[in-house]
């Protein structure tokens, strides 16, 4: 498939791939679904980062959002697992070859309803992957029930009125001490793409809570997860950009007092340009205050909310060899030698 499209006119990236090499099957989600635009930004981010598709793994749970990995990175290994259980499958799967870059996609029901426990614990472990929650406040595949992130008072065609306070994914991630937390809006492609790139460079678990409207079941103008609300109330925390290792950041940019640069574990940089207030996303307490204010003011705050680039990730905690994959180890390395057994038996009494 990809061979045919590689005509001289097709743009190739530094590893010789065209964008098609990062695409998936045609989407079966509704036209206009926010998830489709996120899939497109995943494709674009991977292409622009010059990652070979075979060096990536994609994971998901169950739901509309979890179907989407079929629609990007066709050449990558993927695992569409169980409802709410993607984090555990991902945690185990990423021990096979821990050098792979992983993108996990979940939904608000998959994460905050059935999967809240695994969501919290995968954060604690700092498993090295990008964990995207395509958050639309509603169940799509089962047709329009409220999810845990639906706002109080929301009225839906079939489900009626929601009487409960919503779960705030970003605040939950903060409470669990996630090492990278961002919120974005599917309608802001540039920000989504830049955040995905930064998240892929993070040495640990990166939570991306992306408001991704469901055009079929929850897109009323006043609904907190709709396109209209997002466009109206999306408040940028900063202008966010990502500078890969091979590009140098412009020193002048940083010194103008309007911009802050954060170095990631792999040597790349996140560059944040001030919009209204100066904000330091490495300051945990500032992040907490920010979120409380945003909650009170009912604004959709987007950008990088918190990052700790130096936290040890799971493969490091488990002392995996830096440059070798466990799944390529052979019997010689994995089965103790015959001579060792005598001592084992002797140790038994």
């Amino acid at each position: 498939m990809t061979e045919k499209t590689k005509s001289p006119n097709v743009k190739l990236n530094e590893v010789g791939m065209s964008k098609n090499d990062y695409r998936g099957a045609a989407t079966t989600l509704c036209a206009g679904c926010g998830h489709n635009s996120i899939s497109n930004q995943i494709i674009a981010a991977a292409f622009e980062l010059n990652v070979v598709p075979e060096d990536m793994v994609k994971l998901s749970g169950i739901g509309c959002s979890s179907k989407s990995p079929a629609y990007f990175l066709n050449r990558s290994f993927g695992f569409n697992s169980l409802h709410g259980r993607m984090p555990s499958v991902a945690t185990g799967a990423l021990f096979g070859d821990h050098r792979l870059k992983a993108i996990a996609v979940s939904g608000d029901g998959d994460t905050t309803n059935i999967g809240m426990g695994q969501f919290k614990h995968v954060i604690r472990r700092n498993t090295r992957m990008v964990y995207i929650i395509e958050n639309n406040g509603v169940y799509g595949l089962t047709k329009g029930q409220f999810s845990g992130t639906a706002e109080e008072g929301l009225e839906l065609k079939y489900a009626g009125k929601n009487n409960f306070k919503p779960v705030d994914i970003v605040q939950e991630a903060m409470a669990s001490n996630a090492s990278f937390i961002a919120r974005s809006f599917a309608g802001d492609s540039a920000q989504v793409k830049a955040l995905i790139k930064a998240a892929l460079s993070h040495n640990g678990l990166a939570i991306l809570d992306i408001i991704s409207p469901c055009v079929t079941f929850n897109n009323g103008d006043d609904a907190r997860h709709s396109y209209a609300w997002g466009r109206e109330h999306n408040e940028l925390l900063h202008e966010f950009s990502y500078v890969p290792v091979e590009e140098e950041i412009q020193v002048n940019d940083i010194q103008d007092g309007e911009t802050r640069a954060i170095e990631m574990h792999d040597g790349s940089h996140i560059v944040l340009r001030k919009v209204e207030k100066d904000y330091d996303p490495t300051d945990y307490k500032a992040a907490q205050r920010l979120l409380e204010d945003a909650y009170t003011d009912d604004v959709m705050l987007t950008g990088l909310i918190y990052v700790d680039p130096e936290r040890a990730s799971l493969p490091e905690i488990h002392k995996l060899p830096a440059d070798r994959a466990l799944n390529r180890m052979t019997e010689t390395e994995l089965r103790p030698a015959k001579e060792t057994l005598a001592a084992v038996n002797a140790d038994m009494f």
Binding site: D97, N327, M329
Partner: protein, 610 residues
């Protein structure tokens, strides 16, 4: 509690001694340190070369509830639980009256003299000993006195039964890993108690032990430790688990022992990961993820955990992901009797998962087999690309058993059909994850990290075609499920075969499995002595191999002996061999205790009308 004084022992001194044939129960409170005392007695007897077994009957509690420890000594090598006792040591006032009744006529009853009770039995020997004053008169620190009180009965019983003090010293040396201070402290109390008994107790009962040469080529271990070691020798790379009695010690032992056997001396790197998860759903989820990524992955749990793993096991069965799951069974349903033993998960685990699911199960019957299946389970899982359950139980997993030494794996790793870059190049892309190229129902898989362009595939629990693409096509679904069924059938010749013990002229067969083995070994000898020859088949796996069918075919009647209420293995045998249903007789027992030969013998004789 009554306070009148115990009457002195009155039983007549027996002239003939009974050597190396007794059952002893020690009644204590849990959390009082009695486990060390009991293991010391058990190990000392083992070191004397006498066949012996020890079983801990403990409460689901940390401290203060009654606990009993039973030791059986038998010169002929029968080590199953007997149920009756010649010797009882009563250290717990709460159960004193009951413990007194548990002594067989002619037996002996030991108790510390600070317990004041009326003792109405004249048919047994009664020995009291000053446990507290022995400890008090020693120079042991006051903080350890309660704990050391339990060492007094070791000394008194050792003197009475003639247990070798050198063997006791060896047991302590092992227990305390050669640490001089605790060894000396405990040995001192044992010696003082021994000396006190020699001076003050006039032995009236006939029970003694004497050195034999029956255990020299054996070791003493528990099944969970054996399983952990077996897994290490099987190259385990990933173990995720959640604490549950009686399975916890399996991965705990692995954690303790794997470094010395697997870690490099040069670099601080590991070839494995062990993760305590937040629950059993996560434990199996991680193990399945790891299995999918090409690692030898496992989890261990017990019945309640198995219940929680149901959905995931169905996924692994359908998506064909190798993973090993140890089920150290306890009594259920529900929380049940969490510290008692059973074989109650046979049917549910075999069919675990919704829709049509059939799981392969390996069933160890000895501690040595726990080691063997520890590594072999990975080979079976990799070969058939499916969850493989290893069905142990509390008795096998947690109690100390004498067993043959662990044997080094007799075959290299079988990683099954995995394709790496060079393999894919050789077959020129003629590959589909679920394509039955070899027509043996087992397809080829690739794992993440493979760099070949056509290596990637999307694992899913949803309907899929041969290329692992999403499919709701009715024919795809049916063909795939039929192939899975053929794959399961093919495992009949790839799992451990049963062990068959034949007796001359036997027309009656017995089928059993797992930890019932010692009781069965004894039963068939007893039945033969009574003129009823029986052949005994010990199942070691599901699906049943052809030997099982032949065994049923060639016997008039077959008793299926097991530890559950509904005769679960009997039902599975009947499902597999409906043509023999009239021959198969269920003999289930489900009181939570290890099975006794006497019960099996009587149950069979009753049906046989004898």
């Amino acid at each position: 509690m009554t306070t009148s004084k115990a009457k002195p022992a009155k039983a007549k001194k027996t002239s003939a001694l009974i050597t190396n044939d007794l059952s002893m129960t020690v009644a204590t409170m849990n959390g009082s340190g009695s486990q060390t005392s009991n293991l010391t007695l058990l190990r000392a007897l083992f070191k004397m070369g006498i066949p012996v077994s020890g079983k801990n009957l403990f409460p689901s509690n940390i401290q203060g509830l009654p606990t009993w420890y039973t030791i059986r000594v038998n010169k002929d090598g029968y080590i199953g639980r007997r149920g009756s006792n010649e010797i009882v040591v009563a250290m717990n006032g709460e159960t004193f009256a009951k413990d007194l009744q548990d002594v067989e006529a002619g037996g002996a009853f030991f108790y510390p003299d600070h317990l004041k009770f009326d003792i109405e039995r004249e048919d047994i020997s009664i020995y009291s000993f000053p446990a507290k004053s022995i400890v008090k008169d020693s120079d042991a620190p006051a903080s350890l006195r309660d704990y050391l009180t339990n060492m007094t009965y070791v000394g008194v019983v050792a003197q009475s039964l003639e247990i070798d003090l050198d063997a006791i010293h060896q047991a302590l040396d092992f227990h305390f890993k050669g640490k001089e201070k605790p060894i000396k402290l405990n040995m001192d109390i044992i010696q003082k108690s021994y000396d006190w008994a020699a001076e003050n107790i006039e032995k009236n009962d006939p029970y003694v032990v004497s050195k034999m040469n029956e255990t020299g080529d054996l070791i003493m271990a528990n099944g969970n430790t054996a399983a952990a070691l077996g897994a290490i020798y099987g190259g385990v790379q990933f173990a995720s688990w959640y604490p549950i009695t009686p399975a916890s010690s399996l991965v705990e032992e692995m954690t303790k022992r794997i470094g010395a056997l697997r870690d490099s001396k040069e670099v601080d790197e590991r070839t494995y990961a062990i993760i305590q998860s937040e629950d059993e759903l996560s434990a199996i989820g991680m193990a399945i993820g790891a299995g999918w990524s090409g690692l030898r992955a496992m989890t261990s749990t017990s019945g309640p955990g198995i219940s929680l793993m149901t959905e995931f096991v169905g996924l692994a069965y359908y998506a064909e992901i190798p993973v090993v799951i140890w089920d150290v069974q306890r009594v259920g349903p529900s929380t049940g009797l969490p510290t008692r033993t059973a074989q109650g998960d046979i049917i549910s685990t075999h069919f675990l998962g919704h829709g049509d699911t059939q799981n392969i199960m390996l069933i160890p019957g000895t501690v040595q087999e726990c080691f063997e299946f520890g590594w072999r389970a990975f080979d079976v899982a990799d070969r058939y690309q499916t969850p493989v359950f290893v069905m142990s139980d509390l008795d096998l997993g947690m109690n100390q058993w004498m067993t043959k030494p662990f044997e080094y794996p007799n075959q290299p790793f079988d990683r099954g059909k995995i394709l790496w870059e060079e393999d894919l190049e050789k077959i020129k892309n003629k590959w589909g994850r679920y394509k039955d190229i070899d027509k043996d129902a087992i397809t080829y898989r690739t794992v993440p990290g493979n760099k070949a362009k056509n290596s990637g595939w999307f694992a899913r629990g949803t309907g899929h075609n041969e290329e692992a693409k999403y499919s709701e096509d009715n024919e795809h679904w049916e063909e795939n499920m039929e192939r899975l069924s053929r794959k399961f059938e093919s495992a009949r010749s790839g799992v451990p075969t049963p062990i068959i013990e034949s007796r001359k002229g036997a027309k009656i067969g017995i089928i059993s499995y797992g930890s019932t083995n010692p009781a069965l070994e004894e039963t068939i000898d007893q039945l033969e002595e009574l003129g009823m020859a029986t052949d005994y088949l010990r199942l070691r796996a599901i699906p049943f191999s052809n030997e099982v069918k032949e065994f049923i075919e060639t016997h008039e009647r077959i008793y299926v002996v097991e530890m559950n209420r509904d005769g679960q293995m009997h039902k599975l045998l009947t499902l597999d061999y409906p043509q023999f249903h009239e021959k198969l007789i269920a003999l289930p027992k489900h009181d939570g205790l290890p099975l006794r030969a006497a019960w099996i013998r009587k149950a069979i004789r009753k049906v046989e009308g004898k």
